[in-house]
């Protein structure tokens, strides 16, 4: 194993640790803050389920690099993860619940700025939209749920002690469930980038269970999350559970459930697909953050009571933390990338070149982008996305949607389907037809990803992109993941 890989791995582990320290508070904060569940119990349950979620369900996402996927050099990933981890760590130190994924996105924006890559304006909009939409939705759900729960208790008249026992059980159950999803959803962000350089080899436990190298990597990441939960999450838990306002145990449970509902209903592509395939109207997907949902839930209940108990100063600090986190993350990342590149002489990004070759112009034309004015730029190679777009826009007007499309089409990504390494492809994931189609392309070279995509689709219907509808969204996304996997696998690296 290369020492550098191990070193780079540490930043992923650090990010995992910060994630554990911060995000565990979303699932167990209210339970611990109201002293219904002891911190020790919460930490043990949370750790076990985070590990299970990461190793069992997280492996499904092994082919997804998480949001860090766009960062194309390992030293860059190292810095992005480190910057995000550092921002989350600082916020956690101040006891403020923040969104880990926003910290990561912030760091990626820092990387984008440093490398002159283009930041998707939708991503920025998403961050801002989450600050507003997510807490409001969670607060709304918490209020409705609280009203239902109250009405229910008026009818069944449970003994105070029995209510206490049931609530305790429900809080642990909800926390365990939340921890499982925390592990499953976030492990790709913590360890995803290291999948390709995993230093582990598969091994068997007592001849019964095989742990693949990816599973071992995820296990390691999950352990880092668990360590974060144990060592540092207590403060944020108390901020969420007791600092914002005094809460009853039932209210604590309502907040956790409202947060899960918001995450499930407004972020679940699975649910959207299910509704769409049943011919039912779908619920619009909104970007959500679990930290923001929990805080929104607590504030919602506080407002229901007239808002007098809410510590508005703390709410202000939390809100400020949400804005500061991505900004700080971006700044730290930018500055550190500069040092890593210039002082430690590490390559933090691989240049991505863009070219307006004949096939590219043709493809742009197919996609309805005006190409007549671009004749003068033909065959010029650009060394960064910024440079390419500047040249492009001098000649023709582009909307942000067009920009994305043009970048995707013109990006140079030399790929060669190597017959020797082909058998190493994950044949459980690719369908036999898909694999056969790839096999037929042995020895063929492509300059652009879309060329590979087009030819694969012409060989096998299994590689066909479906019409862009809600029902087909999941299929197309999965196809896109597979294409990206092939690209990474067969990419010609200088």
């Amino acid at each position: 194993m290369e020492l550098s890989v191990l070193l780079f791995l540490t930043s992923g582990l650090f990010l995992g640790w910060s994630l554990g320290a911060n995000d565990a508070a979303n699932v167990f904060g209210t339970a611990v803050g109201t002293r219904m569940v002891r911190f020790g119990t919460a930490a043990v349950v949370c750790s076990i389920f985070v590990v299970l979620g990461a190793v069992i369900s997280g492996s499904g996402a092994a082919h997804t690099l998480g949001q860090l996927g766009s960062v194309n050099a390992i030293a860059g990933s190292f810095m992005v993860a480190l910057a995000a981890g550092l921002s989350v760590y600082l916020m956690t130190k101040w006891g403020l619940p923040v969104s880990t994924s926003q910290a990561i996105v912030g760091a990626i924006i820092g990387w984008n700025l440093f490398t002159e890559s283009v930041t998707d304006s939708d991503t920025l909009l998403k961050i801002v939209a989450t600050w507003i939409a997510c807490p409001i939705l969670a607060g709304f759900f918490a209020i409705i749920l609280m009203k239902i729960v109250k009405a229910f208790f008026q009818v069944i008249k449970l003994h105070l002690l029995r209510l206490d026992a049931y609530t305790r059980f429900a809080l642990i159950f909800a926390g365990a469930f939340g921890s499982y999803s925390l592990g499953a959803n976030n492990i790709a962000n913590v360890m995803g980038v290291f999948v390709d350089v995993s230093p582990f080899t598969d091994f068997q436990i007592a001849g019964l269970l095989t742990l693949s190298s990816v599973e071992q990597l995820f296990l390691l990441g999950a352990i880092a999350i668990a360590v974060g939960v144990f060592t540092y999450s207590k403060r944020v838990m108390f901020t969420v559970g007791a600092g914002l306002m005094p809460m009853s145990p039932v209210a604590a449970w309502v907040v956790v459930i409202a947060h899960s509902i918001v995450l499930f209903v407004f972020a679940s592509e699975g649910l959207e697909h299910l509704l769409a395939s049943g011919g039912l109207p779908t619920i619009p997907l909104v970007p959500v953050s679990s930290s923001q949902a929990v805080v929104g839930g607590v504030i919602g209940l506080g407002l229901m009571r007239g808002g007098k108990d809410i510590d508005w100063k703390l709410v202000g600090n939390i809100g400020l933390g949400w804005i500061t986190t991505p900004l700080m993350s971006a700044l730290v990342c930018f500055v550190c990338l500069f040092f890593v590149q210039n002082v430690f002489d590490q390559r933090v990004y691989r240049e991505v070149h863009y070219v307006l070759s004949e096939p590219v112009l043709e493809k742009l034309g197919e996609r309805g982008l005006v190409t007549e004015d671009l004749a003068g730029l033909k065959d010029t190679e650009y060394r960064s996305a910024r440079e390419f777009l500047d040249a492009f826009q001098r000649n023709t007007f582009l909307t942000s949607q067009d920009e994305k499309r043009a970048l995707r089409i013109a990006e140079l990504r030399p790929i060669e389907i190597d017959s020797e390494t082909m058998d190493g492809l994950d044949q459980d994931w690719l369908s036999p037809e898909q694999f056969a189609a790839v096999k037929r392309l042995a020895g063929v070279r492509f300059d652009h990803v879309w060329q590979l995509e087009r030819i694969l689709a012409s060989i096998s219907p299994d590689w066909h992109r479906m019409e862009n509808t809600t029902v087909n969204k999941l299929h197309n996304k999965e196809l896109e993941r597979k294409i990206q996997y092939l690209v990474r696998y067969f990419e010609i690296r200088e």
């Binding site: 002293r35 219904m36 008249k157 003994h159 105070l160 002690l161 206490d164 026992a165 009853s248 209210a251």
Partner: protein
């Protein structure tokens, strides 16, 4: 193992619930014993029957203390109802003090053996009955606090009503005592007992007041 832990958690909760119920039952029982004992004393003085009631009251009080301590230990050892624990303990202690007051008054009667003229018997009986009813309604309010939070207010207002009834009876009784031809030392002695018995209703009212506050906290 986890399953066992969960079932034992629910099992122990049920056991604790019955302890709380028994604790409140005992208060009602103590009230019945108290009113019987006063009646017997007025009719026959500190006779054997009165002593038997006194012993019974002491046993109830002893059991009440055992239950209260056991509930307290259980609540703290298992960190149950963390948000309301302090209120519940305070409630149990206050209610326990009502039983202590019943027992204490019977002891005082037994030791001091006040000589109550027959014309005041009915007044003493009415006062005792009203005080016991007042305590019973605060016990109902306490039961509601555990099971049916919305009814606490109803029972608490009944407690207030009986407390003011007890005050009226006590005032009337004291006026009668001091207007009588009895020597001053007997008047003062009788007044002492009237005030003591009436004081139980005042204590019950205080418990009802606190209960209303606990209820507001529980509703949050």
């Amino acid at each position: 193992m986890y399953f066992q832990k969960v079932t034992s958690l629910f099992g122990r909760t049920r056991a604790l619930e019955s302890q709380v119920d028994e604790f409140l039952d005992k208060v009602t029982e103590a009230g019945l014993v108290f009113s019987r004992a006063v009646r017997v004393y007025l009719q026959h003085g500190a006779c054997a029957d009165f002593d038997a009631f006194l012993t019974q009251e002491s046993t109830i009080e002893g059991r009440e203390d055992v239950l209260r301590r056991s509930i307290e230990v259980e609540l703290y050892a298992r960190t149950l109802i963390p948000d309301l624990r302090a209120d519940v303990l305070r409630l149990l202690e206050d209610i326990d003090s009502l039983v202590n007051a019943y027992e204490g008054h019977l002891f005082r009667i037994s030791i001091q053996q006040p000589d109550v003229p027959e014309e005041f018997h009915q007044g003493f009986l009415d006062l005792t009955e009203t005080v016991v009813t007042c305590v019973d309604s605060v016990v109902l309010a306490a039961r509601s606090f555990f099971r049916d939070i919305e009814s606490v207010r109803d029972h608490a207002s009944k407690t207030m009503f009986f407390e003011s009834e007890a005050d009226k009876i006590s005032t009337k009784l004291q006026r009668g005592i001091f207007a009588s031809e009895l020597p001053l030392q007997r008047k003062i002695h009788l007044r002492y007992f009237v005030e003591r018995i009436d004081d139980v209703a005042n204590k019950a009212e205080d418990v009802a007041d606190s209960l209303q506050i606990y209820t507001i906290k529980r509703k949050i």
